[in-house]
Symmetry: C2
Subunit: 317 residues, 2 copies
């Protein structure tokens, strides 16, 4: 006998989901009222992201806890990429009547597990439960800038170092393995599948970027080359990536060989691309991978123009 959301109704489903969430110090009123209350010190950041069954995930490939984990991690990355400290998430879930409540509980627990690991001061403040034909997960993340200026995409200066923290290319290799072999891909490509289904983003490194005087930063979610070109365009400069440095630092990750092409043109990496003043130390976890040049081509690799490529939700399927 299993419980479905249709059989239980909204109130009973919420009573099952909410105990999976722990509070956080900045969330002074949690779920149950019209809004949650979050304490901010002043300027803060907000980002929204949606993951939809069949388009962004498949329930025959992913465990509910992994899905919740990924939802939290990818949104936390966007907050940290602005130089902010994550303080609260909201989660709006929509699902069919016959959805098992245990699936939603797993998503909730996975979100909390991710917060416990990388953002223990951040809490799920509230959300929404609605009806849909496919499972829809819409997450919003809030972060506090703690009196610091946001680290935008537009601050890179000619001569700055380019650095990256996180994994590169593994997630897309994991997705390819899942498409080719289904859930059995976990057996022979466990590391790549984990990067795709339950990524660990370098939150601790990203949180230090401000203290190391990062001039620009962004979350790399659509592919390093595409996002580097975006950062360059926003800053009015050109990013020149060092292929040898990329291969040296990221050509073998946890025993997995990743080609330069895969390093450049994958997606869902969720690491941090940042620029720092030249000849200064970069934060732990960041690896130097290039230099900021004067505005010219969209992107350079080893000084040569390369066409940026990566993920577009409407043109990559």
């Amino acid at each position: 006998m299993t419980d479905t959301v249709g059989a239980l109704g909204e109130a009973a489903v919420l009573a099952r989901i909410l105990p999976h969430f722990r509070g956080g110090s900045a969330v002074t009123l949690g779920p149950g009222d019209d809004c949650a209350v979050v304490e901010f010190s002043g300027a803060s950041v907000v980002t929204a992201d949606t993951m939809i069954e069949g388009h962004d995930f498949r329930l025959d490939w992913t465990q509910p806890e992994e899905l919740g984990w990924k939802l939290a991690m990818t949104n936390l990355s966007d907050v940290v990429a602005m130089g902010a400290v994550p303080v609260a998430l909201t989660i709006a879930l929509a699902c069919p009547d016959d959805t098992e409540v245990s699936l939603l509980e797993g998503i909730a627990q996975g979100m909390q597990n991710a917060l416990d690991l990388v953002a223990p001061g951040c809490a799920v403040a509230g959300g929404d439960l609605a009806h849909a034909s496919e499972l829809v997960c819409a997450v919003t993340a809030l972060g506090d800038l703690r009196g610091e200026a946001p680290v935008k995409r537009s601050g890179a200066r000619v001569g700055d170092q380019v650095a990256y923290a996180g994994e590169l290319g593994l997630s897309t290799l994991g997705l390819a393995a899942l498409f080719a072999h289904g859930p059995e891909a976990r057996e022979f490509a466990p590391r790549e599948v984990r990067a795709q289904l339950a990524p660990v983003t370098p939150i601790a490194s990203g949180l230090q970027a401000g203290a190391f005087h990062a001039t620009a930063m962004m979350d790399v979610s659509d592919g390093l080359s595409l996002d580097a070109a975006r950062l360059g365009r926003a800053s009015g400069v050109t990013i020149d990536l060092d292929g040898a440095a990329l291969t040296r630092h990221f050509g073998v990750q946890d025993g997995v060989v990743v080609s330069l092409r895969a390093l450049l043109h994958s997606g869902e990496d969720h690491g941090f691309l940042a620029t720092f003043p030249k000849e200064q130390p970069v934060p732990p976890g960041f690896c130097p991978i290039g230099t900021v040049r004067e505005r010219g081509e969209a992107l350079l690799v080893n000084g040569e123009p390369v066409q940026p490529a990566g993920w577009d939700p409407f043109q990559n399927r």
Copy 2:
């Protein structure tokens, strides 16, 4: 020749949508980076809501501008119901490839139209665009408490006046007309259909509740009786609604007759139910409709127990 999101791709679609949004004074960095930046004075509120094609709206009944309008209005109501001033919305849209960009533009313009009317200091700060089989609209709203304590559901005290601001029952009558007659319902039930598709929520009244020492407040979205019972339970009291007062104030709205049953047990009203100290004036737009009693039955009407009823997304279809 029409443009679809699949043909244009993400960047071009965003370039069409974003010009429909005006900025707001609290949003110091708008769409285009990993996050938007919002200035808060301290404690703030956040709420999330999702509307999904075929479940929460039908594109053959509603105009895109109406859909955007309703998305904004219903989320603004939740913010104001906490005693907060709306400062920012986020909108995550997901849709099929063959969705016309003009549809998404209409949603954006409708959101901005609603903000212009009732919350001109509030801005759409950012969002997300993703792929789905049906149109998904996930909105988050942020409000600033401006140093005041939040007005929670739990503060009603025995002897307080119960008051309501907004429309009651019209929206559900409009939905019934649409189910019975489709888009032609606009012709013979225009007022009810407007309440359903493009509600005007009493934001100005709600914003004054704090200054009138409201002890509790909530947005009535699932039916007056159901939500009054919730407010009573949260406060450890029982709400006693005055049927004669309800009929006097709301029995005829804009020429539309609404039965007491419809006043009590409808949904999607998005007005404000609040409690105020007895024998004190209530804010403009609020009508006294009852009294707070000691905890007993879930809900009273004219001193007699009434079974609360209203809207549950998983048990009302």
